[in-house]
Amino acid sequence: MNKRIFFQSLFVIFVSNSMAQSAETGGMPQLNPEYWISQIFWLVISFGGMFVILSKIVLPKISGNLEARKSQILENIEIAEKQREESETKVREYEKIILDSKNEAKNYFNDARKKVIENINLKKESLENEINEEIKSAEKEINDLKNSSQEKIRKIAIETSSDIVKQLINVDVNSSSISAIVEDLSKKNKDKYHGI
């Protein structure tokens, strides 16, 4: 209720105010043709001047700026793309280099291993040769010894047998006959003593 009275009073004040004053000035100034021609004239001047300057000078510049920016951005994108490609090829090259050097390192390692193994084999062989030679010489010595010992044993056998015969029957026996007997015996017992 209070609200309604408030708004009604507002309206009354407004209407009385505006009616009193519009009566003074006579309605809408827009419909007063006194300055119409002047307004049209100045509208043509200001709008026309602005239109001419905008369309001849300002707008082409703005559109040129926009075009320039667009083309520059496209150019930059192109350059960036190119650089990206370049960097990719560089990365590929780098990876290839790393792979190559890895292979090289592997080869070096393999070579070194081969060399070492060869060296070892060589040394082993020469060592074996030496050992074999030594064994051979030792065997030969043994054989020599064996042969010479047989001869010596025969001699000793002949001497001792002649000595024993002399002592036993006091007869000087011919050494050649004794040796023949010893020879005979030794041949008989060859298998017994030497196992040859």
Binding site: L10, S22, Q30, I37, F41, M50, L54
Partner: protein, 244 residues
């Protein structure tokens, strides 16, 4: 006097009386604001196009955004054939927008709240569009008044209606802008008057209303400029691409 809501629309002479023969073309407050708006547009867009940096500064961004905004609007409504008329529609939109916005400054004058100004703009657009239509299509432009797919019986009626609607275009275009601006400014003045007459006790309500109305009016100022420009585009579209 100052409390009269229509007082703000008074046109009065500034400076000496200029007469061209019998015709009075004196410089008025309306002329002053037309010139101020035009110069403001030129200054802003000249500053916005002076330097071409890859990353635009604020004023350049403003100029370029408005450029692409209007270019997109024209392209969307009137197609690519409307490109030659870009600078006219751009100037039109900016002029109406700046006049509306300058009108929002207290104690200033709203150029577009005068029917004669908006009617001149609308009449120029109407005549221009009609001339373009006849140049592009010859007498075929009259097909605009004969929509396709209408029964023969209804055709006389439809043609009359179409002609009336075509002829009322400048009126509707001009009255829309003029009435919006005048009504908004009158309303703000009325509420401002309430603040004074209700005093410190009751004046807060109309004051808050006035503040809200200011925001609304700024929106309306932009919107009406946009509507004015887009309707021009639509009329231009009719003249360039005859669809009927």
């Amino acid at each position: 006097m100052a409390a009269n809501p229509m007082h703000q629309f008074n046109v009065y002479r500034i400076g000496p009386e200029i007469k061209l023969g019998e015709i009075d073309i004196s410089f008025t407050n309306a002329s002053l604001f037309m010139v101020i708006s035009s110069i403001a547009i030129l200054v802003i867009f000249n500053l916005g196009s002076k330097k071409n940096t890859l990353i635009p500064n604020k004023i350049q961004l403003l100029a370029e955004l408005s450029y692409s905004f209007i270019a997109k609007m024209i392209n969307d409504t009137a197609g690519s054939k409307a490109k030659p008329y870009f600078s006219f529609i751009f100037s039109l939109f900016m002029f109406v927008l700046f006049c509306n916005m300058f009108g929002m400054i207290p104690y200033s004058f709203t150029v577009t709240s005068h029917i004669i100004v908006t009617f001149m703009l609308a009449a120029f657009i109407f005549i221009g569009v009609t001339v373009i239509g006849f140049i592009k299509h010859g007498l075929g432009y009259l097909k605009l008044f004969v929509p396709s797919g209408v029964p023969m019986v209804l055709l006389p009626l439809i043609v009359v209606i179409e002609i009336i609607s075509y002829l009322s275009r400048p009126v509707s275009l001009s009255v829309r802008l003029f009435a919006n601006m005048m009504a908004g400014h009158t309303m703000m003045k009325v509420f401002g008057g309430f603040v004074v007459s209700l005093g410190i006790i009751g004046g807060w309500l109309p004051l808050s209303f006035s503040v809200a109305l200011t925001g609304l009016e700024i929106l309306v100022a932009f919107l009406q400029a946009y509507v004015f420009a887009i309707l021009t585009c639509i009329y231009l579209n009719d003249a360039l691409n005859l669809h009927h």
